[in-house]
């Protein structure tokens, strides 16, 4: 045998075991580091929420007020989650930051504004809600139109760029351009004014314990959570949903495996844009419809995506809910104008402590 080894050169088993010992130790180190940073990331978030509550208490904010804010935060969080899902999937599968994603939300909100009162005449409002049936009918129409716009952008801009082998930076810049384009079109068509879907007094409900919430907010919470749940079911149960997660995980391997990546990309845009539209419409129903609404919403969207791990759709859903809560609770003692700053701080903390997100995403 010894002769054999000589003739084959360095004994492979020796080199293998020597080279294996090091990665093994390294892996163990990486694992413990992984666990520690994950725990740190999770703890610092929990700490942040507890801190927010304490500061709130110290400032004399009542528990009821904090509870109300938490409920509203859940609502805002579910809307963020709807926007973040498309952003994270596009990043995972196509590897670029789609800066136009927020503006897809704006488009969705404006399409409802376009349909309600024109194609769909305003009927009786569904008391105690502020809106009528026509609003609920306009929602799927807005989803369809937004999906068509996203697919048009893919066909006209992103797909040709990718075929030319453009870098992710170029794609992101193209997306930034698309964002400006969409917003300009919104300004041209609808002007710079703020709009409300419905005017008049919005009725509120007092929950046991004195938490006050508008009826509209209840439907926003219900619809947003419903869609979040549907996305979850889609990703977890359907073949296409699993293929989307697989492709976001590892696009090259998806190709090698025989997954029809082109089809996955198509449906990723469709899902992402449809959910962005729902998010935009619900945001518009909660406050107003304005040309910059989606653009300003990008920050919490990115915060949610990074918090959940870039490219991890489940992470984006959970990250959205967390960011929404933190943002809303902070208004107990901070001027609400600082809400974006709160999202930004959470994003920076995560990037410093655990850049791959607390739910694990692409490590880079």
């Amino acid at each position: 045998m010894a002769k054999d080894e000589d003739s084959v050169g360095p004994d492979p088993s020796v080199t293998v075991s020597a080279s294996v010992a090091i990665p093994r130790v390294r892996r163990r180190l990486r694992w413990s580091r992984w666990a520690v940073t994950r725990a740190l990331g999770g703890l610092s978030l929990l700490g942040l929420i507890v801190l927010l509550i304490f500061v709130g208490q110290a400032k004399g904010v009542t528990f009821i007020r904090l509870a109300s804010l938490a409920v509203w935060g859940l609502t805002l969080g579910a809307v963020i989650a709807l926007g973040a899902i498309g952003l994270t999937l596009v990043y995972g599968i196509l590897r670029f930051a789609n800066f136009a994603h927020g503006d897809l939300m704006t488009v969705g909100a404006y399409i409802v504004l376009l349909f309600v009162g024109t194609v769909l005449p305003r009927g009786e409002s569904l008391a105690p809600f502020s809106f009528g049936w026509e609003f609920l009918l306009a929602l799927p129409l807005a989803m369809i139109v937004t999906v068509l716009i996203a697919l048009a952008l893919e066909k006209l801009i992103y797909s040709p760029l990718r075929r030319r082998g453009s870098s992710p930076a170029i794609l992101a810049m193209a997306a930034l351009g698309a964002a400006f384009l969409i917003r300009s079109l919104v300004y041209i068509i609808w002007g710079g004014d703020f709009h409300n879907y419905y005017v008049g007094i919005r009725q509120a409900l007092t929950l046991p314990g004195g938490i006050r919430i508008r009826y509209d907010q209840l439907i926003i919470l219900a619809l947003a959570l419903l869609f979040v749940f549907l996305i979850y079911l889609f990703l977890e149960r359907t073949k296409l949903g699993k293929a989307m997660r697989a492709t976001a995980d590892n696009p090259e391997l998806a190709r090698v495996t025989g997954i029809d990546v082109g089809r996955v990309i198509f449906w990723t845009w469709a899902l992402g844009a449809a959910m962005a539209a729902v998010g935009g419409v619900l945001l518009g129903l909660d406050s107003q419809v304005r040309p910059e609404m989606g653009w300003f919403f990008l920050l919490p969207l990115f915060a949610a995506v990074i918090l959940g791990g870039v490219g991890n759709p489940y992470g984006a859903l959970a990250g959205g809910l967390i960011i929404g809560m933190v943002q809303q609770i902070s208004t107990a003692f901070l001027n609400p104008a600082y809400k974006p700053a709160v999202a930004f701080i959470v994003m920076i903390i995560i990037l410093l402590i655990r850049p791959q997100g607390i739910f694990g995403g692409k490590e880079r």
């Binding site: 050169g9 088993s13 697989a246 590892n250 391997l253 190709r255 025989g258 997954i259």
Partner: protein, 236 residues
């Protein structure tokens, strides 16, 4: 019968030519091993066969049909499956989901179920861990998932790029035993390995690649004792 025939293939990355006219062949039922020092062009050859790189010259024939430069999602339909050396699993998916993705182009749920049962029979550990996310599994377990995934399409030819890389000797031995077992079910295998000794012991035939050229070929056991192999390996 010749299952895979690579004729005078020249290929590389962009301007950089790595393979300079390499020809190899895999017959039905064979295990064929490609060995060679680092940078010999072994992985480049695999990627070129599997349509991840386009050859600038030469042809690839699979079952007497030209498949040169066909994209991977076409090749898997011809019965050719490939396990890359690194990043060969979907880490955020469970074991079972990884296997399901392996059978993405298969529409018949019965076929999928029976193949999955076959993979679990080959790797019983995977059945136990089928709900676990692969990202949390060890290197050896990941390799099982990767091979299992590639078997989900019932390939005629399975291409493995360094299946024992970064595995402890015991695990590498286990993977080699499984390769033999897969071969006994009628699947032909084309394997690229740095672990020359083990892979030549296993192989019906072997090729030695160096500097992007085929240097030697012959039956596995014969290459194992060829002094020329050692010389090439040491880069002499």
């Amino acid at each position: 019968m010749s299952l895979l025939k690579v004729e005078e293939v020249t290929s590389g990355y962009g301007e950089m030519e790595i393979l300079h006219g390499v020809s190899i062949e895999v017959h039905k039922g064979e295990i064929v091993s490609i060995i060679g020092p680092n940078g010999a062009g072994k992985s480049t050859l695999m990627k070129t066969i599997f349509g991840l790189l386009r050859p600038t010259q030469g042809r690839v024939l699979f079952r007497e049909q030209e498949v040169t430069g066909l994209p991977p999602n076409e090749l898997v339909r011809h019965g050719l499956c490939y396990v890359p050396q690194v990043d060969n699993v979907f880490p955020s998916l469970t074991v079972q989901e990884n296997l399901e993705m392996g059978a993405f182009i298969e529409e018949d749920p019965k076929a999928i179920a029976s193949r999955m049962a076959g993979v679990y029979e080959l790797f019983p550990l995977l059945r136990e861990r089928r709900r676990q996310r692969v990202g949390k599994m060890s290197g050896g377990e990941r390799q099982m998932v990767a091979i299992g995934r590639a078997l989900m399409l019932n390939p005629q030819l399975l291409m493995l790029d360094e299946p024992s890389a970064a595995l402890a000797p015991k695990l590498a031995e286990m993977i080699f035993a499984k390769i033999k077992e897969i071969n006994s079910t009628g699947v032909s295998l084309l394997i690229v390995e740095q672990n020359a000794k083990e892979s030549l012991k296993l192989a019906d035939r072997g090729y030695v690649l160096a500097d992007g050229r085929k240097k030697l070929e012959g039956p596995g056991p014969k290459l194992l004792t060829d002094p020329e192999v050692g010389r090439l390996y040491l880069g002499g």
